[in-house]
Amino acid sequence: MQSVQSGKKPIRIKPGTVFMYVVLCGWALTTIYAMFWIVNNSFKLSRDVMNQSFAIAFEPVMDNYTNAFDRINIGKSYLNSLIMSGSTVLLVLLFGGLAAYVLSRFQFRGRRALFSILYASLLIPAFATVVPVYELVIKWGLVNTYLGLIFPQTAGNLTFAILVLAGYMATIPKELEEASFIDGCNRWTLFTKILFPISRPAFASAAIFVFLWSYNDLFSALIFVNKEAVRPIVALLSEISSQYGTDFGLMATAVSLTVVPVLIIYLFIQRFIEKGLTEGAVKG
């Protein structure tokens, strides 16, 4: 409709349009107000969170924040999350990128079969692999180490990344590769110097989703890295809900500390996410 209407100059306000804006703003309010409420309450003492949860914290108290860092050591969990999710992203992009390169740019026997296997493996949820993986991780002494989470998560996200990256790389014209061959590139330099830079949007959106899924994955974290020294922020949050279920101020602070940095980063990289989704990446 927008393309049809754009030609018209005078703005007529129709009741339908008003209704649409009311609904849209209503839904927007659920997301915005929820975030405001939680951040606002994180600056109040627990008893005020209980008694006056709607009041705006004009005199912010930092008690919850000092508690969060001193008592439950949220900073350490942050760091754990960043290290593990960051490494997962790097491994997925490197190995997934190489595999996607082969699958999209080479003609060889068994290529279609490999794609079918990849699509099929999208149907395997973590539940169906967790017990044997747990066994392996214990056997290799990786329980409660960073690698104990990085390895399973890398495998869990590889399929998605390969399909997204291969889909994107398949659209790059063949001539480009041929030209670089003549310039003396081998397959490896071709990947790093040509394919990777051109496919950067696909790599960016894959990186974002892999990071989010890894950062937000409570199930694996509970199983592979539940010790205080290595646990990521999601595991800490779930711990808080059972251990400090009555300390509302601390809970509000923990949620705020988890959510706000992600939201700020999101605001900066929003266009990459949209790009990834718009290029049909997620549809695989």
Binding site: W27, A28, M50, L123, L218, T278
Partner: protein, 286 residues
């Protein structure tokens, strides 16, 4: 095919293949294998044939978890996909603020489910939660949101809310790909407003709706953190994921836990096939 390409094919595929084999394919088949054993932790393992599967079919708790998962799935398909579609249609039809709504609707998606669940712990708290405070301010009685007959619906709300934005963006993208001459032709025929939405927009994005419904089905089977954080599966909110976790990792019953995992996979495949069959339509290409 260039000279020496075979070497690169193998070399480049190797790391990914190794990871997938060790941490995905091997464990998957091992799970199938384990489902035929009675286990005690990692120590004892006795072959019991189909005993676990027989047990599965008479396991009332698993039955309840299946029903709860299906109920949750119904909410997700009706409300999550429904609201996403409605919001996408609205945003597609407005001129001002598109970018703003896209940004704001998507942002719950980037937040971890665990954090959202914790947020809802604070909303639903009986004594001091946001909802009961609101009710009291308006002069109503407090409600026990996580009681037996409401808990699953209460858990469904954050579950639905979390991913509406994701499907919203997928729908909006699909709509933006519809060529504008379709709409111009429709306008000449006098098809506008709601009629246009139902006669043109929705049929034209049917294949995307199908993809989204399949994603919603497989996504619901993976629901874990909302239940784990909000109710721990109590008050009739156990779903397949949390039940599997309890059996396999809390009780350390790896054999039966694996049986449930296989059940989840089969259930998911069957449901996706069913959804695809029911939504079968001629694909429209333009």
């Amino acid at each position: 095919m260039m000279k020496g390409d075979r070497k690169y094919i193998v070399l480049f595929l190797l790391p990914a293949a190794a990871f997938l084999s060790i941490f995905l394919y091997y464990p998957f088949f091992k799970s199938m294998y384990l489902s035929f054993f009675r286990t005690k932790g990692f120590t004892t393992k006795t072959w019991v044939g189909f005993e676990n599967y027989v047990r599965m079919f008479s396991d009332d708790l698993l039955g309840a978890a299946t029903l709860n998962t299906l109920e949750l799935m119904a909410y997700v398909i009706i409300f999550q996909v429904g609201i996403a579609l409605m919001l996408a249609i609205f945003v597609d039809n407005i001129t001002w603020g598109k970018g703003f709504f896209r940004m704001v609707f998507f942002f719950p998606v980037v937040i971890s489910g665990t954090a959202i669940a914790l947020l809802f712990v604070l909303f639903y708290n009986f004594q001091f939660g946001l909802l009961n405070t609101l009710l009291q301010n308006m002069g109503f009685d407090k409600v026990n949101w996580l009681s037996e007959n409401m808990a699953l619906k209460a858990v469904a709300i954050p579950t639905v809310w979390h991913y509406v934005g994701f499907y919203f963006v997928l729908f909006l993208t699909a709509m933006s790909k519809i060529p504008s001459d379709f709409y111009e032709a429709a306008k000449l025929e006098g098809i506008t407003g709601i009629k246009k939405t139902f006669l043109l927009t929705i049929p034209l994005i049917m294949s995307d709706i199908k993809v989204v419904i399949t994603l919603a089905i497989t996504g619901t089977l993976k629901v874990f953190e909302f239940i784990f954080v909000l109710t721990r599966g109590q008050n009739d909110t156990e779903v397949l994921g949390t039940y599997m976790y309890k059996k396999a990792l809390v009780d350390q019953n790896f054999g039966y836990g694996s049986t449930i995992a296989i059940y989840i996979v089969v259930f998911g495949v069957l449901l996706s096939l069913l959804a695809n069959r029911l939504l079968k339509r001629d694909e429209i290409s333009y």
